[in-house]
Symmetry: C2
Subunit: 574 residues, 2 copies
């Protein structure tokens, strides 16, 4: 059990058979071919040499296979992490320089360390801060920015900037120098990618391919386009007429230049590293859970932090950039027939072989093709329908989505995400600090107590029952004081106030203090406070406190008992 | 009604009688005499000339009386706001300079505007962010820092710094130059202040004073000490031997020097202005509520924002610093026999008269006396008992208090408060993102369903009921996914999962999305999801969503019906 906890791969390794190995080897080969164009494209998106996309697919993948808990998740370069990487590095370095690569490597290392820290302190729950509207607005805006950013490759021009206005104005200024061969290549490749996506699988089915073949080859569009485009560029020497190509691959791994790194830089990279880690982890766990559920498996989010943390440190040591578990990678992995994380290891070896022997094949690969692949996959992420749904469900959450969307577009990803998270916390605090508080009375002839505004109920002039439908904690403690005071000042004849605690699962020190204040204030006003239906765990918590000593009323087990006792007591007096 | 809403004073003014006026005039006179030493001292605490404490007690007090809703609250210089003011200004200016006064005035103006903005957007609930442990740790640490900071006046030496280490080291360096007459004066005044506080009221009772006189004079210790000390300094020319005195009061009101103000300064003062406003508002409302409750009155927190906002703008226009409603001021006001906010207006006029005709009396007032008054009142705020109580109630909240305390001491008030607020949000999110989720079964022979771990209940092999004791929203949406998935992966024979929603008062878009994911994943695993006991408002919210269409199970009104239906269905099949 302990071995499995430290080294989750043991769980599947101990029953791993020769048959599994055969299956996974075939799956890995298919996966490798499919995933290469994506990896190159996302490296370019991160502002790194395309080839580092392959570096980032080797060691991280092996480490995740050994230390992660998902059986299907594929770890490597992922669109969102790559854009965030570029956006985090741009203030420090110019893309394509040695300095830039050094910062990227540092960022991957810091991300890895941060993920391990989260795991150590079991802080994975922090990703819960990313509410659905924030993530949705963030992804849509980021995708839009990425597509606009890719226009420079699609048109073969220059452009700078990582937010909407600088990017658009820079593109506009350079629009005159559009490279026509590049533009034609881009249009052709986008057109054929879209057509293949829509019709290739059906076409394969029509010409009589088996269902399995259709599933495998249906997603091979990018591979075929990359192959054809590279061939075209090489044959017609399109690089001579301005089509930008990947070119020669450096012989050695990029190395980190320690003299480029200094403490202020590390400090300024921290927010970026944190956001990349949290967003990456969030996305990765979502994908992992979706696949685990299909197979009735389970994943351990805390161990996922370890797996992804080590993967990022591995990526840094390979001279690459931040990685995580990606949706489209994982779909490719699952579709290629993988049965276990062993595919992650075998595919890594295949990619290493590619890197060692096949890189000359990538020489003529035009950057416009990679930009086409990126643009198409990112455009799918711009989700307008989600906004419509949200608008119908809750205006406030739709506003949250829009706010995140526009701040990301105009101010950048980090600011947008932070604004979104703060706003969602604010909205939640607003909601929870305005709890539903009802005055209740007895439904005639029963022991049930319901809201006086919704039901015809019996109430008593000098005994008032208030039910609060929320946990009592700092965000609503003060409101409770205010509301109870209001209730008492509006009902001058009240002598007994019963607080009905059916919905109170938790009470903190701030609420406790508020309750003590309420008791004193009510006593000053000549009103006794009673509690009813206090839950077991809450009562345990209150037991040793000053509150029960200061309480001038009683604690009743049920609301019915409370009313019976207090009404009886009043009748006696009368 | 509308007039009363804009101008709350109308509520009491329309029934205000000649008799009330007589009473309030006497009360105001007593209050004025009592409150003057305090006002001077807190101006000094804010780093401003002592006399500005009187400026800050005139216009703000009148404006609050007209626009505030509390009948008892006294608004003017308050210890906590004054310390925070000094701490916010120190990075920009040297205390005692014209520049410093300008920044203080600007800060009061910004505070006022910020409070009005809060009122406009009804954001008063933001003060709910200040949980009890954070406020407690903050006040204790601030009080301690203030007392240490007053040592320079008590010893008659120089010192700088606003956090623990710089302050202590600076004091230590100057300790050699202690002024002996000042030290003797300080010791005498502290000793007599403490003695009077403890025994003066009793002594007055013993010599036969009426209860009312005892109540009035019992708190006059500071007035008497100030009077005697001023007399002593003047008579024995103690200012010639190094006792620092208030000296001559400037003829004109301090004026704001617009050329000292620039946009970057305004921007950097924003956090300070926000914290001063929020903490001041928080304290003020607490005091107001305590007194309102005693008299069965009600206060309107949103209108309080208006009253305090205008008071601060008024303070800025009088050339003073941020003000708020204070605890000790309000006690003096209530004890002096005030019946309405009219005392605030009359007392303001008395203070204006003092300022016009009696300032020469303050010439020889030694600063050491004011420092003694401050030190004694602040030492009472260091609350060790609270920590002990909190430790017994909840270790986590005690840690929160200690964290806030030490960060305030070492890093300063603003950082401490922000760290405290962030930590309490973090703790709360941790709690709420780990909701109590129980598998429940039927208590035999009843329609009640309870936790299988606590009760002997009937369960069914292929029908599982899970009860979640928390609202469903972004912070726990993902955990719900994880836990349900875990439950299903641990109970491989389950075909029906019932989610019992008794404790769910709210559901947001993130939780909705998680539920949709859960439905899909469970369907993939061959499990149907059902809902039971969904509350009315939650059902209203769900009605128009995709969720109910995607749900492959049913929505049952009660848990009992759900079990009956599903078990019946299974028996039929068998």
């Amino acid at each position: 059990m302990t071995l499995e906890r430290i080294f989750p791969a043991w769980k599947w390794l101990k029953t791993y058979s020769r048959d599994d190995l055969q299956n996974d080897t075939v799956a890995s080969l298919i996966f490798t071919i499919m995933v290469i164009p994506q990896s190159l494209a996302y490296a370019m998106l991160a502002g790194m040499p395309a080839i580092t996309g392959l570096y980032a697919s080797i060691v991280p993948s092996i480490l995740y296979s050994l230390f992660g808990t998902s059986r299907t998740l594929a770890v490597g370069p992922v669109a969102l992490s790559s854009v965030m990487t570029a956006s985090a590095i741009l203030p420090f370095a110019v893309a394509g320089t040695e300095h830039y690569a050094t910062v990227a490597i540092l960022l991957a290392f810091m991300s890895g360390v941060f993920l391990l820290i989260l795991s150590l302190f079991r802080l994975g729950f922090l990703t819960n801060l990313l509410s659905h509207p924030v993530i949705s607005g963030f992804i849509s805006a980021t995708a839009l920015i990425v597509v606009i950013g890719q226009l420079k490759y699609l048109l073969g021009i220059q452009s700078e900037g990582s937010t909407l206005f600088p990017l658009v104005s820079s593109l506009y200024r350079h629009l005159g120098s559009t490279n026509i061969p590049t533009l034609i290549l881009s249009i052709l490749s986008i057109f054929s990618l879209v057509m293949m996506q829509r019709h290739f699988a059906r076409f394969l089915g029509m010409i009589g391919c088996s269902k399995r073949t259709v599933q495998l080859l249906g997603k091979s569009g990018p591979v075929i386009i990359v192959f054809l485009a590279t061939l075209a560029v090489a044959n017609f020497s399109l690089d001579q007429v301005g089509v930008s190509i990947i070119g020669a691959v450096p012989e050695a791994l990029p190395s980190i230049h320690l003299d480029h790194i200094n403490l202020p830089m590390v400090r300024e990279l921290i927010p970026g590293a944190i956001l990349i880690s949290i967003v990456g982890f969030f996305g990765s766990v979502s994908v992992a859970q979706t696949y685990a559920a299909k197979r009735r498996q389970d994943i351990d989010p805390n161990q996922e932090l370890v797996g992804l943390g080590l993967a990022n440190i591995g990526s840094a040591l390979s001279g690459a950039f931040p990685v995580t578990g990606g949706f489209s990678r994982t779909v490719l992995n699952a579709d290629s027939g993988s049965r276990s994380p062993m595919t992650g290891i075998i595919a890594a070896l295949f990619i290493l072989l590619t890197l060692l022997f096949l890189t000359p094949l990538f020489y003529y690969l035009p950057k416009a093709i990679l930009a086409s692949i990126i643009s198409i996959s990112m455009l799918k992420l711009v989700n307008v329908q989600d906004l419509r749904h949200l608008w119908n469900f809750s205006k406030k959450e739709a506003v949250l989505l829009l706010a995140t969307f526009f701040v990301v577009l105009i101010e950048g990803m980090e600011t947008g995400l932070i604004v979104g998270v703060c706003l969602s916390l604010l909205f939640f605090l607003w909601h929870t600090s305005h709890p539903h508080i009802a005055i209740v009375g007895r439904v005639p002839g029963t022991e049930h107590f319901r809201n006086v505004q919704r039901f015809t109920v019996e109430t008593h002039q000098s005994v008032l029952t208030v039910r609060i439908d929320e946990n009592l904690f700092f965000a609503n403690a003060r409101i409770l004081e205010e509301r109870l005071q209001q209730v008492v000042s509006e009902n001058k004849e009240v002598k007994h106030l019963i607080l009905m605690c059916t919905a109170v699962n938790m009470i903190d020190a701030s609420a406790l203090q508020s309750l003590e204040k309420i008791i004193t204030r009510l006593a000053d006003a000549g009103v006794q406070l009673h509690l009813s239906e206090v839950k077991g765990p809450v009562m345990d918590k209150l037991k040793d406190t000053q509150l029960l000593k200061e309480l001038n009323g009683e604690v009743f087990l049920t609301q019915h008992q409370a009313i019976k006792a207090l009404e009886g007591c009043l009748e006696e007096k009368a």
